[in-house]
């Protein structure tokens, strides 16, 4: 297995507050890796460091064999690293199709983009129904699907998903996780941040547990799913 993403001892500051204290993790090609933890543990911050929205204070990030620690966010997208932002990160004034088109902003191969658009609409039939509707008028679940679909339009090597199940009804959560598995089976590596540990661990090949800006545990999905401490803290069972 080749390593696609490697984070080494990354720290990140918000002003004077240290949000990440030397985090290290790896994502191998073809995997689904989950990052779980409570509110404020630093999950989304880790994502921002990887996608380049926030600069890191120290440490290194390597992607596909290249050091990208200091690379601008938009250039990371061109290298094949794309994030679906958390929550309402879609463009509210653009239609569904325009949003998806923005996902392919860095690409010039229009014919291939057309094929990928068909694939995404196939994956999310709801988006196909609402293609002319403005993003801001979609329901929470539809917006979430749009964010994931839009990220796929960049044809990423590594897809970063920030809380894809946030605010969704249980039925929809099941559905979105099935789609994530499907995307992965079609060949996209996925790094997933989740509060819904149960679902995330069940679907992930490997996982990391994040607490107050530090990684406290790692293992395969099923190992962590059966770990007593994880069970107690994140799965709500003693």
């Amino acid at each position: 297995m080749t390593t696609l993403l490697e984070i080494e001892d990354v720290s990140l500051l918000y002003g004077r507050i240290k949000a990440l204290h030397g985090i290290s993790l790896t994502v191998n090609e073809g995997e689904i890796v989950a990052l779980i933890g409570a509110n404020g543990a630093g999950k989304s911050t880790t994502m921002r460091a990887i996608s380049g929205i926030r600069p890191v204070a120290s440490g290194r990030i390597r992607f596909n064999g290249e050091d990208i620690t200091k690379l601008r966010a938009d250039l990371r997208v061109r290298r094949g690293l794309c994030q679906a932002p958390e929550g309402r990160g879609i463009f509210p004034g653009m239609t569904v199709l325009e949003n998806l088109d923005m996902g392919a902003y860095t690409r010039r191969d229009r014919a291939e983009v057309g094929k990928d658009l068909a694939k995404v609409l196939d994956l999310f039939p709801r988006l196909a129904e609402r293609r002319k509707q403005v993003g801001g008028t979609l329901s929470g679940g539809e917006q979430q699907m749009l964010a994931v679909g839009r990220a796929l339009m960049s044809r990423p090597k590594l897809l970063l998903l920030d809380e894809p199940s946030m605010g969704l009804a249980p039925m929809l959560i099941q559905q979105i996780f099935s789609i994530i598995t499907e995307i992965n089976e079609q060949g996209t590596t996925i790094l997933l941040v989740e509060q819904n540990a149960q679902q995330a661990l069940a679907r992930a090949h490997r996982a990391y547990v994040l607490e107050t800006g530090r990684i406290v545990k790692e293992g395969t999905g099923s190992e962590l799913l059966h770990d007593p401490a994880v069970k107690e803290a994140y799965l709500g069972v003693a």
């Binding site: 380049g52 879609i90 463009f91 004034g93 960049s154």
Partner: protein, 369 residues
């Protein structure tokens, strides 16, 4: 109140629908008729039939020139505020850079004594305003929202203070005898002069048409899509691979270019530039015009700029119970803006997207609260 709004809205929707369903040739015919109307407007033979529209207190051709300059400025500021969503409170600073560059290079009162013709100074003025836009943008466009607004406000004030205090820029005494643009009639008389403001108005009108065509094409290109994405969600734009800083700088520079063009035209027309032309209020008026018209919509910016500049001039010479309305023009103006913010924050002729963004933001406030 709501019923009046609904009535207005339904009327507007009916007009919009008609417009979109009209055949192509009919739309072009309407646009052509509007353009012909505005070319004909400064002629007395034409405007004497227009009832109360021509101004009473001042020369109508002169007023139309002023209005056209404001329209040009509103179209330029609309790129920055409307398309890219950057709040620029010092846009008039670029107008000043354009006007002063022309003045310094052409006027006999300038220390440089270069005495260039107007046309030679124009490209220099345009390049310098763009450079000043990039210089101002490079450090400040890393800031967002309120911070950017404050810094741009400071920029315009810096230029005003520099113009007032520096010997080189002549303060209130200013630069005189700035030359007119070239061109003469068949009988040898120059086209552009002090006596007849109409050729200047026609020149600016023509430039507005060219600028609007250019801006429209830009807005429909990849550049335009990048601007919209930055305005709607800057983080998300970055995550989609849009080099946000570069495009914000682009918006700033294009806006500055148009501001500088307006300044250069103004300097030629007035023959005179001094620090008294550089009131802070001008930046606010242009911003208000863009917001009033409908930020993000080119037609909205034109209507806003035209309406605001025209109304200010229209108040001149009208007495109401012994007070001249002109003295109270900014009070009316403030009132209109407050009413607009309450009832129609998206502007008179809003942009479809902007309207959706407003709704979206309102939703966010409710969720957050």
């Amino acid at each position: 109140m709501t019923s009046v709004r609904e009535w207005i809205d339904s009327g507007r929707h009916a007009v919009a629908e008609r417009w979109h369903n009209a055949p192509r040739w009919m739309r072009w015919a309407v646009i052509a008729a509007v353009i012909v109307f505005f070319y004909a407007l400064p002629n007395r033979e034409f405007y004497q039939w227009l009832g109360p529209i021509p101004t009473t207190g001042s020369n109508f051709g002169q007023v139309l020139f002023t209005v056209s300059i404001y329209v040009l400025l509103a179209v330029g500021l609309n790129i920055v505020v409307g398309f890219a969503g950057l709040l620029d409170l010092g846009y008039f600073g670029f107008f000043a850079v354009g006007a002063y560059t022309v003045a310094v290079l052409t006027s006999p009162s300038s220390d440089l004594k270069t005495l260039w013709p107007w046309l030679l100074a124009l490209p220099v003025a345009l390049v310098l305003t763009m450079v000043s836009g990039v210089m101002l943008g490079t450090p400040t466009l890393r800031l967002r929202g309120d911070y950017l607004a404050i810094v741009t406000l400071g920029f315009a004030e810096m230029i005003r203070v520099a113009a007032t205090a520096s010997d080189f820029l002549k303060g209130q005494r200013g630069f005189n005898q700035i030359p007119h643009p070239p061109g003469s009639y068949s009988d040898g008389k120059p086209i552009f002069g002090v006596l007849d403001p109409r050729p200047y108005y026609w020149l600016v009108l023509t430039l507005i048409i060219l600028v609007v065509i250019g801006v429209r094409n830009l807005n429909r290109s990849r550049v335009g899509r990048a601007w919209i994405s930055i305005r709607e969600d800057e983080d998300a734009a970055q995550l989609m691979g849009v080099p946000t800083f570069k495009f914000k700088l682009w918006a700033f520079a294009s806006g500055a270019f148009i501001g500088g063009l307006a300044g250069a035209l103004f300097a030629g027309k007035q023959n005179f530039v001094s620090s008294q032309n550089l009131e802070l209020l001008n930046s606010i008026i242009i911003l208000a015009a863009v917001i009033l018209g409908g930020s993000g919509n080119i037609v909205g910016a034109i209507v806003g700029g035209g309406l605001v500049a025209y109304l200010i001039e229209r108040f001149r010479g009208i007495e109401f119970f012994g007070v001249e309305l002109y003295e109270y023009r900014f009070m009316f103006f403030g009132l209109v803006l407050v009413v607009m913010m309450i009832f129609r924050p998206q502007g008179l002729i809003p942009n479809r997207r902007r309207a959706a963004e407003f709704k979206d933001r309102r939703k966010e406030v409710i969720v957050g609260g």
